[in-house]
């Protein structure tokens, strides 16, 4: 059940655990009704005879309003939350709202009309709300103006509600005035609503895409079928990434097409030549094309292929970790933060503690393996797939094929998971290369093994912490040195100045605890393994590290870890609300019988403050069960509480996987894990109960929702393990640590 407490000016929206679940308001769309989104979501769900009012919306003669959505649907709910924002201002009847993807080709031809088409940074609502509200408000006022002119009244005399315009006894629908409204230019754009004026945003409307996702009709990239299409299976060089120098030395030596060419359905085998940069370009490799994907994949598996391995074949995970551990004492670290004199304060402190924490590479492991479909004709190229960044996909295809970007058309499908992986577009560039070689429309699909081996992983990191604890148990100084694999050093080397990548040490640099002396520096130690944004990016590993050490500090000072955090954030009202909500809702205690424990983790990402309390039990032999995770968070405002709650659950499950079982390791330069047998994902029987409490401070705060609930989970679980067993887990995944106790 959902209940709403109004405490002073703060709103606490809580959703119950296993039993209830959030009640959805308004009507439930059903597949029996006309779909609200086309199966092919890049297509208009209705007949195309509507009147475009502005780039964001179209009104049909029957009153249907189609909202263009310029972010990609990978589960985070943008196909519902973004139209809700437009509908709020438009005063449209929600039952008449449909949605389609905005067109990236139009975007690039029309001066970036959709503003921001790359989905990431938990930014769909956070960064596009204002202009979506504006688009809806502007359309509403133009409709009112059109009616006012017709009726000989002023615009102020016209009211708009539920897609109906009224003034005195006059009445007209949006559809009736759409054509006239499209001709109207306002002398000044209307003001948009402030949150107190919302009547629709903030309600748990049912998702518009659910009907397509319960009957198998939602089109994902892997489902695209084009006339005359053939299928490609690919194998890129088993050693991924690298720099220009090492890539030149790891090559495709030979492949024997004769060995497979008589196999059923096989059409051809092609060498993929390196192109573009080393981590998001085309890697050296081979594609086999056939009349079905299974035949292509089977033939590829049987074809003899010889690779020149190059120098990166000497690299393995132990060596990479050793290099990072060694860097902890090497000179030349880039300083990011220096408040007071941390070293001096620690040296003088009553008590001094230190700890080294480690996190491995982690794969995005989207449920839908990477794929892309490309059709090249004389005057245009059509590209189909689950793009997190459609204009980026468009530009890599233009670059690969040497065609004008204006002639490339992307068709974004539903994404079978994204988490950052589908913003890289390496598979798009590769598919364009294969389609050109094959001379036919091609659907290229990676095997799961290829998906792991050509992954672009969450960076690994090793961090050393030192702290001084005063006689009163409170910290006097905190010193942090982090060794990181820098994403930015690969993707935008010019942004790394004097060895400093502030993005990589988010969570350390941005630590908000009121500790008098703080110092943070870093070393970058990159390897050939490609790295990329993972859900919540750097804080996904850094918050585990620092929030575990903060618990060590509390412990060393004899403090309760919950109260310690409350005391160290007392000037920050949002942290206070979140922590106090968590304390109350979780029934916080450090007094559980041995073998059970509660732990806390706290983080901020993309403007949203999140705290979690995990309850675990550990058997004497060391088997861990995470029983429950209570989450309190402040993202300022909610567009759709039910969707937001789902994102919290989703992030926690992924964070729990990172904490306990996820790990990508490297041997002979290659990714060891190839499928879900070696890279397990959290399953139903490992699920804790998750309870979510939105503790909202409102005001100007609009924090992100898709990622921020991930980072605290690993720390909360690790800290709970400490209270259960007395054992401090200092590396992810925890499955490597012996948790037995007696």
């Amino acid at each position: 059940m959902t209940h709403l407490d109004i405490t002073r000016r703060n709103f606490i929206v809580s959703t119950a655990a296993a039993g209830g679940g959030m009640m959805l308001g308004f009507y439930l769309p059903s597949a029996a009704q006309a779909a609200n989104i086309a199966n092919n979501p890049w297509e208009r769900p209705t007949a195309k005879d509507g009147q475009e009012i502005n780039a964001w919306l179209v009104i049909d003669p029957d009153g249907t309003v189609t909202v263009r959505v310029a972010q990609s649907e990978m589960g985070e709910g943008i196909f519902t939350s973004l139209p809700m924002i437009v509908a709020e201002e438009l005063q449209a009847d929600w039952k008449a709202i449909k949605a389609e993807y905005a067109d990236a080709n139009r975007h690039i031809k029309n001066n970036n009309v959709y503003q921001r088409m790359s989905t990431g940074g938990s930014g769909a609502v956070r960064l596009s709300r204002v202009y979506l509200q504006q688009a809806g408000a502007s359309a509403r006022e133009r409709l009112k103006e059109a009616a006012a002119k017709d009726w000989g009244v002023t615009r102020a005399d016209v009211a708009a509600k539920d897609s109906v315009l009224t003034s005195g006894t006059k009445r007209g629908t949006y559809a009736e005035f759409a054509t006239k409204a499209a001709q109207i230019t306002l002398d000044k754009e209307p003001a948009i609503k402030i949150p107190d004026q919302y009547t629709f945003m903030g309600t748990s409307v049912a998702r518009l895409d659910t009907p397509l996702k319960v009957n198998g009709t939602a089109t994902f990239g892997i489902d695209v079928r084009l006339p005359g299409m053939v299928y490609a299976a690919v194998m890129a060089h088993p050693i991924p990434g690298g720099d220009a120098g090492t890539r030149a030395q790891r090559t495709l030596k030979s492949f024997d097409f004769n060995a497979i060419k008589a196999r059923p359905g096989v059409i051809g085998a092609y060498e993929l030549k390196p192109q573009g940069d080393t981590t998001s370009g085309v890697q050296p490799g081979v594609a086999v094309v056939a009349d079905t994907w299974y035949r292509a994949k089977t033939a590829l598996g049987l074809m003899p292929i010889q690779w020149e391995m190059g120098p990166d074949v000497a690299i393995n995970s132990n060596g990479l970790f050793d290099r990072m551990r060694k860097a902890l004492t090497e000179p030349g670290a880039a300083v990011s933060r220096k408040d007071g004199d941390a070293e001096g304060a620690i040296a003088k402190a009553a008590k001094k503690i230190e700890g080294v924490y480690e996190s491995p590479y982690v794969a995005h492991a989207c449920m839908e393996p990477m794929n892309c479909t490309v059709a090249i004709t004389n005057d245009r190229v059509d590209v189909y797939g689950g793009f997190q960044n459609p204009p980026g996909a468009l530009s890599v295809v233009a670059d690969n094929l040497g065609v004008q970007p204006n002639n490339v058309y992307t068709h974004t499908t539903f994404l079978g998971g994204g988490f950052g992986r589908r913003s890289r577009n390496d598979e798009v560039r590769q598919a364009a290369a294969v389609a050109k070689l094959a001379g036919k429309p091609v659907k290229m699909v990676w095997t799961r093994e290829e998906d792991f081996r050509q992954g672009t992983h969450r960076p690994m990191a090793v961090t050393k912490f030192q702290a001084g604890i005063g006689a009163d148990g409170m910290p006097t100084g905190l010193w942090i040195r982090s060794v990181q694999h820098s994403i930015t050093a690969h993707s935008r080397p010019e942004a790394v100045v004097n060895g400093l990548d502030n993005g990589a040490i988010e969570g350390f640099r941005t630590n908000v605890y009121n500790i008098p002396n703080q110092y943070v520096d870093m070393h970058i130690r990159n390897s050939h393994i490609p790295v990329h944004f993972y859900r919540s990016v750097a804080v996904s590993q850094n918050i585990f590290q620092i929030e575990s050490f903060i618990d060590e500090m509390a412990q060393a000072g004899g403090k309760d870890p919950m109260q310690y955090r409350i005391d160290l954030t007392k000037d920050l009202p949002d942290y206070q609300l979140v922590l106090k909500t968590l304390k109350e809702k979780s029934g916080w205690t450090t007094n559980l019988p041995k073998g059970t424990g509660m732990g806390i983790g706290l983080s901020v990402a993309f403007g949203t403050v999140v705290a979690q309390a995990a309850t675990v039990s550990v058997t004497r032999r060391g088997a861990l069960t995470v029983e429950k995770i209570v989450c309190a968070l402040d993202c300022g405002h909610l567009v759709n509480p039910s969707i937001a709650e789902a994102q919290v659950q989703s992030s926690i499950v992924m964070g729990l996987g990172d904490a306990t079982i996820h790990e990508i390791t490297v041997d002979k330069g290659q990714v060891v894990q190839g499928n879900f047998d070696t890279f397990p994902i959290i399953r139903m029987n490992q699920m804790p109960i998750i309870e979510t409490h939105f503790a909202l401070t409102g005001g100007d705060k609009w924090g992100g929702m898709g990622e921020p609930a991930l980072p605290p989970t690993a720390a909360a679980v690790a800290n709970a393990i400490f209270y259960a067993t007395g054992k401090r887990v200092r590396s992810m995944p925890f499955s490597h640590t012996d948790l037995s106790w007696s």
Partner: protein, 151 residues
């Protein structure tokens, strides 16, 4: 070689190697793409269909082994998305990205057809072959309980 298969009550003759996994016959030869490919090694459940009413992973079922049996895919579970599992899934808004959901729904429907009132432990036992990277498990559990009330 031609194999005769019955999918969602319709007869199909497909020209594939007999060892071809049923998954690829359903998706590429027959063109029903609601059944998904996740791993190909029976470790994720995205490809779950019903064979003679029981949940089966179509990625490791040879097409030849399904000859003469009734194969049901997500498209054939109901004509109008009104199977209790689909209704419950819609009420609770279970799917996120949705990619695993055909498999989850088919697995849940098979569970409920043999166990009308599954406990949480039954759900853990029967649904743990189906991976969801979006972590929709809590709502899946709620929706199975809800579907069991609706059925």
């Amino acid at each position: 070689m031609a194999l005769n298969l019955t999918v969602n009550g319709k007869a199909y003759s497909v020209d594939v190697e007999p060892e071809t996994p049923l998954l690829w016959v359903i998706r590429d030869s027959i063109g029903l793409t609601g059944t998904k490919f996740g791993c190909g090694i029976a470790k994720c459940g995205a490809c779950t269909v019903h064979i003679d009413g029981a949940a089966a992973k179509s990625c490791n079922t040879a097409a030849s082994a399904a000859v003469g049996k009734a194969i049901t895919t997500i498209e054939g579970l109901s004509a109008d998305s009104k199977h209790p599992v689909q209704v419950a899934w819609t009420e609770i808004d279970v799917p996120q990205c949705g990619y695993c959901q055909s498999g989850q729904i088919m697995a849940a429907a098979a569970l409920l057809s043999k166990n009308k009132r599954p406990t949480d432990a039954d759900i853990d036992a029967e649904m743990s072959d189906n991976v969801c990277r979006c972590g929709t498990y809590q709502r899946i559990r709620q929706a199975i309980h809800r579907a069991s009330e609706l059925a």
